[in-house]
């Protein structure tokens, strides 16, 4: 281990990225190699078709949304820092940080529970209004359940989900309600890609 910083020389702003995301130098290098592998035309940035070349992603029911999450709104390409920043969400949570123990000065790290949940929330909330409306929920449900249920059943499932979660009765799920409905789920473990540790 302990790869020298010379191998990160090829990566622009390596130090800042490591600082910001918490990735080690070794991981950053590997992510860069992966980035270069995905970047088939050697443009230095990823475009939509580069993501779509990952065949398993095409079979993923929410593959489109995952790909979309990499692109900042309005942008058509993903450069390496953005790539890494998104993936930083999936680092395992640092265990030496207690949940309430951080002082207010530091920004929420990308791989904290809240940030992870926020990322997941944004998969639903495509219009970024901070709420998941019934329609947005239905869209995702349709993607996941595909053709196996009828429209009526989808409606009732969405109905039930909103019922359970919607505490302020505005017929939409806000981020806090989303967080609350998942409080029993071990998000830190579920939403971490282990080898990014």
């Amino acid at each position: 281990m302990g790869s020298s910083s010379s191998s990160t020389e090829r990566i622009p702003d390596a130090q800042e990225l490591m600082q910001e995301t918490g990735f080690s130098a070794a991981h950053l290098v590997r992510l860069y190699e992966r980035f270069e592998f995905l970047d088939k035309d050697d443009r230095g940035e990823l475009r939509l078709d580069d993501f779509e070349a990952v065949s398993e992603l095409a079979m993923n029911p929410i593959g489109d949304r995952i790909i979309g999450a990499f692109f900042s709104p309005g942008r058509e390409t993903v450069d390496f820092p953005s790539f890494v920043r998104i993936l930083a969400h999936f680092r395992p949570t640092d265990t030496n940080r207690t949940r309430n123990g951080r002082n207010g000065a530091q920004p929420e790290p990308a791989n904290s529970r809240t940030s992870k949940l926020k990322f997941a929330f944004q998969l639903y909330d495509q219009d970024r209004d901070g709420k998941v409306s019934r329609e947005e929920l239905l869209q995702v449900l349709r993607m996941m359940l595909e053709m196996q249920v009828t429209e009526e059943q989808l409606q009732s499932i969405a109905e039930r989900a909103i019922q359970e979660a919607d505490l302020d009765r505005d017929d939409a799920i806000s981020f806090d309600e989303f967080k609350k409905s998942l409080e029993k789920v071990d998000i830190e473990h579920k939403m971490s890609v282990r080898f990014l540790e």
């Binding site: 779509e52 065949s55 993923n60 029911p61 996941m144 359940l145 249920v149």
Partner: protein, 712 residues
Amino acid sequence: MAALWTLPLLLSGCLLGCLALTPPDELPQPHNLPPLLGFNGSDGGPSVDLPMALRVFSVDYHHVQAPFEIVLWIMLASLAKLGFHWSGRVPAVVPESCVLIMVGLLVGGVIYGVRHSAPPTLSADAFFLFLLPPIVLDAGYFLPGRLFFENLGTILWYAVLGTLWNVLGIGLSLYGVCLLAQSSLGDVSLLHCLLFGSLIAAVDPVAVLSVFQEMHVNEQLHILVFGESLLNDAVTVVLYKLFESFLRLPSVSGLDVLLGGCRVVVVGLGGLCVGLFFGLVAALTSRFTSKAQVIAPLFVFLYSYLSYLTSEMLHLSGIMAIVTCAVTMKQYVEANVSEHSNTSIQYFLKMWSSVSETLIFIFLGVSTIQDVHMWSWPFVCSTLLLCLIWRATGVLLLTAVVNKLRRNAVTFRDQFIIAYGGLRGAICFSLVFLIDDFPKKRLFITTTIVVILFTVFVQGMTIKPLVELLDVKRKKRALPTVSEEIHSRLIDHLLAGIEDVVGYWGQHYWKDKFEQFNKKYLRRFLIREDHQARSSILRVYQELERREQRGDEEAPPLVDPRSHSRLLLPEEMDSIRRILSRNLQNFNNKQTPAYSRHTLHQDTTMDRTRKPLHRHQSLGERHTYNTITHWPQVEDGEFSESHRVRAGLSRSHTVCSISPRPVLQDSSASAQTAPADPRPAGDDQVFPQHQVPARRTPKKQLSFVLENEKQQ
């Protein structure tokens, strides 16, 4: 419906009569290798001839005896199988293997009763050389490749270490039992016990497959158990031969044990290499079959069988060879040969493996009826108990370790199925017959038969209810809310996607490397030029068109008549939960096996339309989700050039599986396209024919072999 199965029964009865009345064998020992194919036949048949030169009518049974008897047996087996499937409720309760063994017992009993001598038994050579290869070939050819390689580490872990654990555990404990029961079992040595342990510990792929057919297990579990049963052959064969040769040596030294260990590796890898070699040669041969398409399927069988025989000749693992051969040649052969040839290959594989399996089970039943039994309560009972105990502890321990390294943990339910589903079958049976003669050999034979019968009957029949019980219990404990379910599944999909993006080093890294190598060298060399670039796309289009032409299934409208109210009734809640638990599949955790003994994919689609019984109120069995196991591997590299096409293709995966979203019918077409989908709009024109009105759920699936989940 019930009356229909009496017909096969009547026919079987007639066949029984024929078999029983064939003149008895002059050599009463059942272990002798008969002249042909392992069936103890008779010689000298009745022939009627008139005294003069006038022979208007004569019977010369002797002339056709051997093939006649073989055909009779196969006919009996097949009719029994038919009868089984027609017999109403029986298939739901009793696995096919059990019924076949019972039929075999019946036949054996009848033959014994009529002839007063032992009925023909399954000779080990016949089993290993003729009956086993088709089954393993079928399993290997339809092996869900992607899933298998993703779980390869776990499978190897279970196969090698698990088998070692079982063998040593059972062998040593049995020796302990023999020591304790000095009086009756004193002459069974440690080596004998270890030898016995090595043959009884191995899980049998034939039995496992036949039982899992009727159970619905998720793909991952299926591949774990099945893969383990295939791969543990290497370990079993080596240990068996090792202990056997130790028995023949005057003394055993540590060096011998070490050499034995090396042999495991050699046998396994050797089988692998032999299989690889023959697979590649077969692929190359298939490249040139365009001028003689009719014999193309023959090459598949010939080369696979050759690989099996070669590795058996070299005392390597034949099963591994044939599986490797099948897996290797499959993608190239499919690309090279015509559509009809492909179908022929698949159909013949299924047919032969089916016949083989049926015959094996029937003969297991028949062979149980014989004179050579020796019974010993302590030995038999302790063997049974020890098999269960050691397997359970082995699985628990191994899983505890392996779960730390896997993303999809092997749950307790899965562990139970793995442990309890470790059935023994005909391989043990044949191996026990091959042991050199020693005083207690008959005891071993009896014990093996008892273990096999116990596992197949008791475990085979009870595994399904027990698993359901487990599911029920689990559900009662922690009912997740609907939100939790949905969001959890979303997160699972998300994680799978992210891992795919990042490229799970170790798995995808090597897979990508292999795909590049495959594309650059292997495919160029092994696939016909005109088939190379277009092969997969063309096949996909053809496949789609074929399905299109075959017509779509009309799903009966599954409308929930109750209107939505704010408060949902408990029944609705249950139905929702059922829907979710069945459909919100973890991406790597699908509920249907990709491999089916009995059907090919076309038949499954057709079959399900004709079984309205299986449609309960909630949903049809369309698991359009099923992984397209082969396409990604094949198409991975090819499409980077043609984005549009590939995008169209991957779209077709989703289009085919999702097909018309229900929204297409009327309202909110805008919501349909809302998912941030910056694909070129032209994509949708690629498959205009799939934009069919809603409520129709055509099953356009590109998976190769499917079995839809049976509804309860």
